[in-house]
Structures are given as structure tokens and as C-alpha cells.
């Protein structure tokens, strides 16, 4: 067969169907109704964004040390600047802040090491992070050893305290939660009923009640010469509370694993712990990532409730700073800063969990 007709040269698509113009036409201006909605939407956006940008950036005051350096036409970031170290370390003595800095540096590098897949020795780093790091942090932050002056926990605060509460809560709640979830599915009546009662009790009371009980009632029951540090009380309350939620998330994941998996493992002669550790939990935990991260994020935000028992977490220290008579009237700046910090941490957790899901999606991807 002979082609005597020359093929038409390949031509670019018409400009109305590619590029920005086409995208705008198909997504924003296809038809009169959508065009009207788009215009209304743009107008609302304009009304919101322009004053915000003007307040937060254009009219804002950035440099200075006192309230007199603020024109009050826009945001007074001078306030945040002057208080930044307090927002991060709380009332930690300024001569000892290097200790908190070392802990911060170790904390973030350990998290980074564990989160970046290329880096080697994961197992050893994890063991270090779970066993050695808490001891080092305690010695550094609390002091009392190696000639380090003691810094009592009521001076801890700010972002440091928020991260401490959240990390201890998460690291403590996950293993307790796994044990409780397995216990609740167990056939042993005492173990099972203990786990059910524990989970239902802690899920049945609001966190604020737990914290109040720990701070108001507990001291009255204990003899006066025995006092449990209020930070420790809050940590225990928070961990037990979260572990109950974690247990239910994990139980949900366990139920999604077909029974055949466990039976097959049993047929191979595996013991209970081997079946769980090698077959069931690795599959279940992978599916539970969104649920677990959800619980972590809500725990991170719940830490602000410790404010009501007089601990200055990030939000608490911002509010305390608002009561300084030299800085009255900058509450908006303070709250915007606190919201931004919380968003940064929660958003990073959320993104990392999505990355983890993609990485572990073997076999269950939809």
C-alpha cells in the first residue's frame, strides 16, 4: 500500500485548550453561574486577604524591645520577639538554656534520623532514642547530677513542655495501647475484663477531669510529706488517657486482618507472641497509620489543657505573657503565634504519615 498523501504536521493544541487560560476556563469560568461564583469567591478572598496581609506584614512592627516601638497600626511582632525565648523554654533559667538546647538538638536529630529512610543503623538509633535519650534529657533538663544546678519542673514551659508532654504521651501510649488492644481480644477472662474496664473508664471521662483529679484531689489523698510532682501527675494522666484511645484504634486495625492469617501462622507452629509480632501487628499497624497519627495530633493539641492545672505549655506561657502589664493588649499577636506553632507541628506530622502510608502501601493500595 502506498501512501501518497503526506501526513499533516503535528500541531500544538489550540491555545484555548492548554495552559493557564484553558485551566481557568474549565475550572473557574465554565458557564455564567460558575463565573459569577468565581467572581464572588475572589471578592471574598480579597476582603479577607488584603487586611490580613496589611496587618501581619505591611503595617507590622518587627524591630524593637518595648511596646513603645509598636505603632499599633498593624501586628506588633516585637512582643513575640521579646518573649520568644520564654515561649520556647518557659521560665527555664536563662543561664541554663544551653541544656535545653542540647536536648532539643538531640530530639530533632533523632527524629530526623529515624524518619529519613536512607540513614543506616535504624535499630540502634531507635534503642538509643527510647532508652538512653530519655535518661540524658532528664539529667540535662532536671539537673542535680554532675554539678548541674537543679531546675524544678515548675520552671519548665513553653514549646519545650508541649513537646515533652506530647512525646512522652505518644511513646507511652502506643505500647500500652497495643497491650490493651491485644488484651481486649484475648480469651482469658481476667485479662479481657481488666482491659475492657480500663479502656471504658478512661474513654468515659473527659481529659480535663483527669487533669483536675490529678491536680486537685490527688494531693488531698496523699500524706503531706509525700508529694508527686505536678508535671509527673499530668504526664501519667495524659498517657493513661491516650493509651485507652490508642487501644481502640489498634483494635480496629486488628479486626481488619482476616482470621485466616492467624490460623495459618498457628498452623506453622508459631507461638502467640510470634503470630502477633511477625504476622498480625505488622499488617495491622500499617493500616492503622491514619488512625494513630490522628490520635497523636489530637494528643499534641490536647496538651494545652495542662494550662488549667497551672503548667505553662506553649499556649499557657503566651497567655501568661499577655498578663504582663508592660505588654497588655497584644493578645491577637500572641494567639496567632501559638496557632502558627501548633499548625507547623501538626502539619508536619500529617505530611510524614502520608509519606509513610505511600511507602508501606504494599498490597492494600486502592
Amino acid at each position: 500500500m502506498i501512501h501518497n498523501q503526506t501526513m499533516i504536521e503535528q500541531r500544538p493544541a489550540p491555545s484555548s485548550s492548554v495552559g493557564a487560560v484553558a485551566w481557568l476556563r474549565t475550572n473557574l469560568f465554565n458557564g455564567p453561574i460558575n463565573t459569577i461564583f468565581t467572581l464572588i469567591g475572589l471578592y471574598i478572598l480579597y476582603l479577607l486577604v488584603v487586611p490580613t496581609v496589611q496587618w501581619a506584614f505591611i503595617n507590622a512592627d518587627w524591630v524593637g524591645t518595648t511596646r513603645d516601638d509598636c505603632s499599633r497600626e498593624g501586628a506588633c511582632w516585637v512582643f513575640i520577639n521579646a518573649r520568644l525565648s520564654q515561649f520556647i523554654y518557659g521560665l527555664y533559667p536563662s543561664s541554663e538554656i544551653w541544656r535545653a538546647n542540647i536536648v532539643f538538638a538531640m530530639f530533632f536529630s533523632l527524629i530526623g534520623w529515624l524518619a529519613i529512610p536512607r540513614l543506616p543503623f535504624k535499630r540502634w538509633v531507635a534503642i538509643f532514642a527510647l532508652i538512653v535519650f530519655p535518661v540524658i534529657s532528664f539529667v540535662l533538663l532536671y539537673g542535680g547530677y554532675f554539678d548541674l544546678p537543679k531546675v524544678p519542673t515548675h520552671r519548665w514551659g513553653g514549646l519545650m513542655l508541649t513537646l515533652l508532654l506530647a512525646t512522652v504521651g505518644m511513646v507511652g501510649a502506643l505500647p500500652i495501647g497495643i497491650v490493651l488492644a491485644l488484651g481486649r481480644r484475648s480469651n482469658m477472662p481476667i485479662v479481657k475484663s481488666f482491659c475492657v474496664v480500663f479502656i471504658e473508664f478512661w474513654r468515659g471521662v473527659p481529659l480535663i477531669t483527669v487533669l483536675f483529679m490529678a491536680s486537685v484531689m490527688l494531693p488531698l489523698f496523699l500524706p503531706s510529706d509525700m508529694s508527686v510532682d505536678r508535671l509527673v501527675r499530668a504526664l501519667i494522666g495524659l498517657t493513661l488517657f491516650q493509651s485507652a484511645y490508642m487501644a481502640e484504634v489498634i483494635r480496629g486495625g486488628l479486626q481488619a486482618i482476616p482470621k485466616g492469617q492467624e490460623e495459618a501462622a498457628a498452623a506453622l507452629g508459631m507461638t502467640y507472641w510470634k503470630r502477633m509480632g511477625l504476622i498480625i501487628l505488622p499488617q495491622a499497624l500499617k493500616m492503622m497509620i491514619p488512625g494513630i497519627v490522628n490520635t497523636f495530633i489530637s494528643l499534641f493539641k490536647d496538651t494545652t489543657l495542662v494550662m488549667i492545672i497551672g503548667l505553662f505549655d506553649l499556649l499557657g506561657i503566651v497567655q501568661a505573657a499577655l498578663a504582663d502589664s508592660r505588654w497588655l493588649g497584644f493578645s491577637l499577636e500572641g494567639y496567632v503565634f501559638a496557632a502558627f506553632m501548633f499548625w507547623v507541628f501538626c502539619f508536619s506530622m500529617s505530611r510524614y504519615s502520608q509519606y509513610l502510608e505511600r511507602k508501606l502501601h504494599t498490597g492494600h493500595k486502592r
Binding site: 488531698l220 496523699l222 503531706s224 505573657a321 499577655l322 498578663a323 497588655l328
Partner: protein
């Protein structure tokens, strides 16, 4: 059935309170000495009374009471651990021994003094509920407020006092209730009400938060009595005396003109009152288990009451509260300390 349950609850609550009081009858002075610091219960942030400053140190009128006690007992005004307490847990913290002194803008009332196992040691600020009005209104005293729209913060005794005052004077008012102090100021600023009511110590702090503080004024009328003072546990009279006289030493210091600057020169003063106060003539700390220089330590490290007032809430601070009834007795106020002799 319901009643029985209630009784059991009440009884156990009572038992807890009693147990708390009974177990906490330790020797507070000895405890603080062995600890090397005083446990001081303060608020979680109240302008002028207790709030951390830029460098993280607690400042305020209430804070100075604890600093004074630390100076008297330990010779170092900085030997204080501040425990911030909210309104609910403040008395429990004191009863259970978590704090040695509660210095947290606490109003002295019969109920608190007689039923909680606590003792008020004196008054470091005579507060009372007042009114802030916009200067445009041309109002000069509270009797002209008939029919006014009034901004109040909810859940405080302020609401009750306000209703009592207006009923007693046969006037009408229109309450506009807000949840937090910031919202209350916002409501006043936006013109939702003509008048804002709160304790006078707080009105000053709220006024600063307005865009134009000079557009509002605080009326001279005060419609309630709110004497604020430090509190200690019942059953430790020695400690009670120490806290009481630490405050009196500050007030006497102002009366005799002893300040943090001139305290050292005053040691050689001929005035017998000053000599007794500063421990140059006799040892008046002995009865409290303290050294003779207890009051000298207070006045040189913390300053006298007037200095503390000016620095924290008075003209030397952004709050600019007038001395008013908090002036000394010989200057038209209520602050009167028994003599040291």
C-alpha cells in the same frame, strides 16, 4: 436514695478537707529552711499582681509578698519557687501543703477564712468593683448610670455585685455578658455598651488595651469591698506570724521612710522606730524564730510597701492605679500596720 448519696458525698468531701488540714500541720518554717526556698502560690497571670516579665522572672504586688517572706526567713528574696494556680485549685494547693503561702489576689471573706482551714494574714490591696466609662458620655459618678448598657465578664461575683448595687439604688441596667476579659474590652471598644465594670485593679489593665486609653475614664465610685491578701494554712501560728509581720514590715517601712535605696544608711538612724524595725535596737525577729535583721532584709531587697505599689501597679507601672484607699493611714488610706516594739 438520692439524699443518702448526697450525704455520703458531702461527708467524704468533708473528710477529705479535714484530712488535708490535719496532715498539713507541719513546721512550715523548718520545712522552708531545709528546702532553701519558699513555695509561693501565685495566679496564672494577672497584670500588676503576678506575671512573668520578659526575662521570665515573676513580678507583681502579690509576688513581692512572697519575696518579702523569703527575705525575712532565708535572707534572700529570690529564694522563692512560684507555683501558678488557677482559681479552683488555689485552696487545695495550700491545704495539701503544695504551697506555703497563697498570694493570689484572693478576697478575704468569712466563708474562706472560717470554713476552709485557712488564715488570711492581712490585706496588701484594697480592691473593689468600679466602672469605666467613655469620656464622651460626660458621666462623672455612678449614680448617673440609670438605664446604661454594661459590659461584664461572666461567671464572676461582679455580676452579682452589680445587680445588688442597681437594685439598692432603684436603677435599671442592661447587662451584656462576655466570656473573657479580652472580649469584654472588645465589646466596650466596639460601643456595645456605655460602661464596663470590673474590679478597679483590673479596670486599669483593661483600659490600656483600648485603642485610645484616654477616651475612657474610671469613675471614682466603688460598689463592693474586695480586700485582697496573702493566705496561709491554719494550725501553724509561727508561720502565720511571719507572713503577717513581713507585710507589716513593708508598710511600717513606708511609714518611717525606709526604702530599698536608703535602708543601709537608715541602719544608723536615730529614730527609735526605725532602729527597732531594722533590728538595731532589740531583736524583734526572735519571737518568730528569725534573725534581728529580718525586716532589714525585706526592705533592702524588696523595698517598702509604697515602692512595691508604685513599681507594680502605681504610677511607675503602665497600670497607673492611684494609691487611693491603699495609701497609708496618715495619708488618707487604710494601710495601717501595728508598731514594731
Amino acid at each position: 436514695m438520692m439524699n443518702k448519696k448526697h450525704l455520703v458525698l458531702l461527708a467524704s468531701a468533708g473528710a477529705i478537707t479535714l484530712a488535708g488540714v490535719a496532715t498539713a500541720q507541719a513546721d512550715t518554717l523548718e520545712d522552708t529552711r531545709s528546702r532553701g526556698a519558699i513555695q509561693c502560690g501565685v495566679s496564672d497571670g494577672l497584670p500588676g499582681f503576678s506575671a512573668p516579665d520578659d526575662s521570665g522572672e515573676w513580678q507583681g504586688l502579690d509576688v513581692d509578698v512572697c519575696r518579702a517572706v523569703a527575705a525575712a526567713v532565708l535572707g534572700d528574696a529570690d529564694a522563692v519557687n512560684y507555683i501558678s494556680l488557677n482559681a479552683v485549685e488555689r485552696f487545695t494547693a495550700l491545704q495539701s501543703g503544695e504551697v506555703d503561702i497563697l498570694s493570689r489576689n484572693t478576697t478575704w471573706t468569712t466563708t474562706r477564712d472560717t470554713t476552709l482551714g485557712l488564715n488570711f494574714t492581712g490585706v496588701n490591696f484594697y480592691d473593689g468593683q468600679g466602672f469605666m466609662v467613655s469620656t464622651d458620655l460626660g458621666i462623672t459618678n455612678a449614680s448617673e448610670l440609670d438605664g446604661a448598657a454594661i459590659c461584664i465578664q461572666s461567671g464572676t461575683t461582679t455580676e452579682l455585685n452589680l445587680a445588688d448595687y442597681f437594685r439598692a439604688n432603684g436603677m435599671e441596667f442592661d447587662p451584656i455578658v462576655f466570656d473573657t476579659s479580652e472580649q469584654t474590652v472588645g465589646g466596650f471598644q466596639a460601643g456595645r455598651c456605655d460602661v464596663l465594670t470590673s474590679d478597679t485593679s483590673q479596670l486599669a489593665a483593661l483600659r490600656i488595651q483600648l485603642d485610645d486609653p484616654s477616651a475612657a475614664m474610671i469613675l471614682p465610685d466603688v460598689i463592693s469591698k474586695e480586700p485582697l491578701g496573702p493566705v496561709v494554712r491554719q494550725g501553724d501560728d509561727l508561720w502565720f506570724n511571719i507572713v503577717k509581720w513581713s507585710l507589716y514590715a513593708m508598710i511600717n517601712g513606708e511609714e518611717y521612710g525606709v526604702t530599698s535605696e536608703n535602708a543601709e544608711e537608715m541602719l544608723s538612724s536615730e529614730n527609735p522606730d526605725v532602729a527597732r524595725l531594722l533590728g538595731q535596737d532589740g531583736n524583734y525577729g526572735e519571737g518568730m524564730g528569725l534573725e534581728a535583721d529580718w525586716a532589714y532584709n525585706i526592705l533592702s531587697q524588696v523595698g517598702n510597701y509604697g515602692e512595691s505599689f508604685e513599681r507594680n501597679v502605681g504610677m511607675g507601672s503602665p497600670l497607673e492605679i492611684e494609691r487611693g484607699v491603699n495609701a497609708l493611714w496618715n495619708q488618707g488610706g487604710f494601710q495601717y500596720a501595728p508598731p514594731i516594739r
